[in-house]
Symmetry: D2
Subunit: 337 residues, 4 copies
């Protein structure tokens, strides 16, 4: 911690700060500058009490942390890229992966048709929502267990592993029984009890970024997963909330190289949620690939206009096929397969 004292702080007030720093287990180190005195507090910020409350003292101008509080997810801890494998599909390796499927599972016909089509077009993982978090209590909330069973059926028919959202601690066992990858949605990205419950299943976790989560907070949320003995962590960018209203969210692709610097975990991009507009999805996919993402997760529906949720952002089966062709040169340019 760095503690900056206000200009003209008296000797007595300075001493009080130094005493408090020592009391909390740190060694103070005083530097006298031109206008201000700065105190470095030497000690492990991850195991000692925080000094942030010193900022309430009248003689203190600001308190700045030096250390990062996440460690297991950091590159420092694990300099090589980590990978996550489920049913033989490895995310984070040489091969670029594409997850695709409907926003919500609606019916056997809708799901199986989509699963077969996305597999044919080159997708390697099937996505589909059985439990849906909806802004309004009067909107379709998902088929629940019936949806999970349909996902399992689609997996049997296509061989594609399944990623689906977990949104309640009480569903953990149920969802983990059917899913290969558990998705934590943006609204639950800091629902720490859910993160812990999900981690404990041992299943791979696709952790979406909270709508207004800073990278550092996202890494901390990931740390909840790994600290609960589950190294199978995937970070998934899905758009942040900004002032822009042309799109539903602002897909923050800059986070791809940032995550690659800060963490060893694979990075997935969701261009469907990220824009809310299917017409923009292909360009977003190309950007994500070029910038170093390991996988995409894309919403695909046989008839988006009649989808039970988020129709505006789902691409058609035909559209997905074209998309997969269009992104191919960029996968190659990025040195992936």
């Amino acid at each position: 911690m760095i503690i900056v004292l206000k200009p003209h702080t008296s000797k007595k007030d300075e001493t009080a700060v130094l005493r408090e720093i020592r009391k909390l287990g740190y060694t103070p180190h005083v530097m006298r500058g031109v206008a201000r005195t700065v105190v470095g507090a030497i000690g492990d910020e991850r195991t000692h009490a925080s000094l942030e409350a010193l900022s309430t003292w009248p003689q203190v101008e600001s308190v700045m942390p030096i250390q990062k509080k996440y460690k297991l997810v950091s590159r420092e801890a694990h300099p090589c890229d980590s990978t996550v494998t489920t049913r033989g599909v490895m995310i984070g390796g040489k091969k670029f992966q594409v997850m695709a499927g409907p926003c919500s599972v609606e019916s056997e016909d809708q799901l199986i048709r989509t699963a077969v089509a996305v597999k044919e077009a080159g997708a390697t993982i099937l996505r589909g929502g059985a439990f849906k978090p909806r802004t309004s209590p009067y909107e379709f909330q998902g088929l629940g267990e019936k949806g999970l069973k349909l996902l399992a059926k689609a997996r049997r028919e296509t061989g594609l592993p399944v990623v689906t959202e977990l949104l309640s601690e009480n569903h953990t066992e149920l969802v983990a029984e059917y899913a290969d990858i558990l998705q934590i949605g943006t609204r639950n990205a800091q629902n720490f009890q859910l993160l812990i419950a999900a981690a404990k299943t041992g299943k791979p976790i696709l952790l979406k970024r909270g709508m207004s989560m800073r990278v550092e907070e996202w890494l901390h949320a990931g740390e909840y997963i790994v600290a609960n003995n589950n190294p199978n962590l995937l970070f998934c960018e899905r758009g942040i909330r900004t002032f822009e209203n042309y799109t539903r969210n602002t897909l923050d692709l800059s986070v791809v190289p940032i995550l690659k610097r800060e963490t060893h975990a694979p990075v997935v991009v969701d261009p469907s949620q990220g824009t809310g507009r299917s017409a923009l999805v292909t360009a977003m996919c190309k950007g994500a690939i070029a910038m170093g993402a390991d996988a995409l997760i894309i919403e695909v529906h046989p008839n988006p206009a009649e989808a039970w949720s988020d129709g505006a952002q789902q691409v058609t089966l035909e559209g997905f096929k074209t998309l997969m062709q269009d992104i191919r040169p960029f996968i190659t340019a990025a040195g992936r397969e």
Copy 2:
């Protein structure tokens, strides 16, 4: 719904849109403007399928909803102010209420001292966190059940009803056993399963605003409470996330008169979380009162510098006493007691 067609849309493409609108149960109503044709779709947007997916059609420029999807929390449904009463303390009535207490319950001594002091200074409800949602897994997570028991003890000694956070569906029964008001924190404001579980206890719910929640989304989250047969809903502004970094959050006091227009439920303001800086708390309280808030919730700690969480934003016992005196003229000016 209003569907705006692109300029120069052919008759055939227009007909296709009209057919789809009818198919989904609405009556289309065509208006030909100078540059564009606009279609009004008449029907109940709350019970019919959404037309938003029409925005993916190439001939459609935009789709705009007309109706609001919340109803039970709206002023339209209930033009008078509603009130929430617990152990004889009524929030939303003539009397202005102040909730106060430590960020986290740390020990019997810390809690009882604080409870006695805040009561003496005029607070009418005791706050204190037993389960704490923390950004990092390595930070203090609260005393849990032991904290709840201490809160119950403080209630016995002071008579103050207790508000404390519920952050896991699995704790619902436990927390409801001890608390008089259940707080839903900012990170769980769209954890809909938790909202439903909390609502079902029948206890009053203090629903904090999500960090990047629009007013409309907040009202929808409140609708989850009331639609689950719990009319005892309190909205609590606690600061939103913006680009400003002088404060931890930007306390959005403008939301007080906005909520007063849109909903009948009482409005609470949390200036401690809202700024993260105790020196700003008093001014924020004054503003909240002047703008029409029904209650405040303030973090108070005997020794903020040694608090186990969020020390920078907690005021001292002495500071709280002064604050209560300083806000008095504004309570009077606002026509409250």
Copy 3:
């Protein structure tokens, strides 16, 4: 400056950093922590070259400034409140001031009627736009010089000093000839050449906050005024840009006590621009007063529905009269006249 080195930095790499720090005129001061080495660079950050570029060096984790770069506007430099007086009206003193008038000057009749009415209701300064910055080139851009002349006429008839916007360096002389206070609008808040030109007139400057300006940047913009020998500076909050779309902007009242801490200059609040909705204006005024603002600037129009610009946020003459009565108890509670 504080320079944080990455863990496991070699002696050689550390020495290179120290050498560069010395080369740029600072004295390095090394602190060895548990995981990282931190270097304090002692020297005046306001006169020496910045060390921020050190953050590009591979061995450097981060670089943090310690000093603030503004001084003349800071409380440190001038602990007492400063005041700004024009034609006998003092802003920042014991008396609370209200500026009122139409968004745009449209006609003699509209302006004089408004000026007379706002004076009668208690306003002490007349506002009115002659040059209007408009998002689209096809919107009404103001009456220009004709508008300035009408403002001067309204001043003659009512005795109210006039505040109006300056939006071009080329208009400086012209606008300064007619106006008593020059307003710098939100879109020009970092148009530094305009700030300098305005400052040089010696007239009081009402500096609106840029739409996404941090407090620190705003203070720096104010520093441009004072550093150009014009101490007559007023800061005016008018709403910031956030994700919320219920209002046009989010009026950030929390900035009132923040500015009061950081600067000695008077603080004005514009609740009309700040919300874009006249129905919310009164509540915002009450909040601003309670939180310590020195003045308000309010848009008033005889017939808002037919205003040539921003009709939705202007209050009627009758509405303004009521508003002035409604805010009175809060002015008293705030210890003002």
Copy 4:
């Protein structure tokens, strides 16, 4: 315009709205829905008075515009891509262009060395700031005319056309004398008088996005250029202001395909300002290219650590050479040269 009336509006209040709509020159068109009555106002929103002020009427719930107010920059007006050519370099055509050079011109040696190096590495346009807008009045403000002369010298020696910032109306003639492309910076993106002055020079204009500018506002700002008879318009994304603080700004690459849909003008991306961190620049370049940008503008400096401004975001001469090699496969994948 669409005017939504509140539920239970009386016949009389509805009639008043219809009368006002007619008075302002529109034809009202009434649609009675399940809960609300909606009125379409037919007429040209670009030439008639706005109806937005109707939202202040008590019986009106909301007013929604249908038409866009920009036209010359829109794809509707000009379905093919437009191009901008200066000294034989065409931006927006088949060939991908790279602008590169120092943040600020500091000396002849610094500029010429950089210009020669970036040309050799493949850049086709030279960038360099002579007039610099700086947050603080005490920071280096650029060499001014001397800087312009050095840019002209560098152009003579390398043949590269020059892009440099115009930040004052009073400098227009001077800067236009030396520069081939005039840059309008983010802080002046809605300084409409400067836009008009710049447009009138007839020189190509590189219009950076305002820090918190919505796409629609940016297009309107561009409309100011084209409406002043200057079709040589380039839009340049440089990062928006968000809550994220890992980077200086959040580079919003999603805007590339959005602009490509909405406008015919070429799109440039500035990854240096956009991130403020040179280590992220290459990845951002790859993303921009993949998503359809027409050009990049990159800050390059022989010794970033000693740069007089923004050292943290400038890449070295060597780094730039590597970058140009790294982006090559993506330019090919995007079908460019």
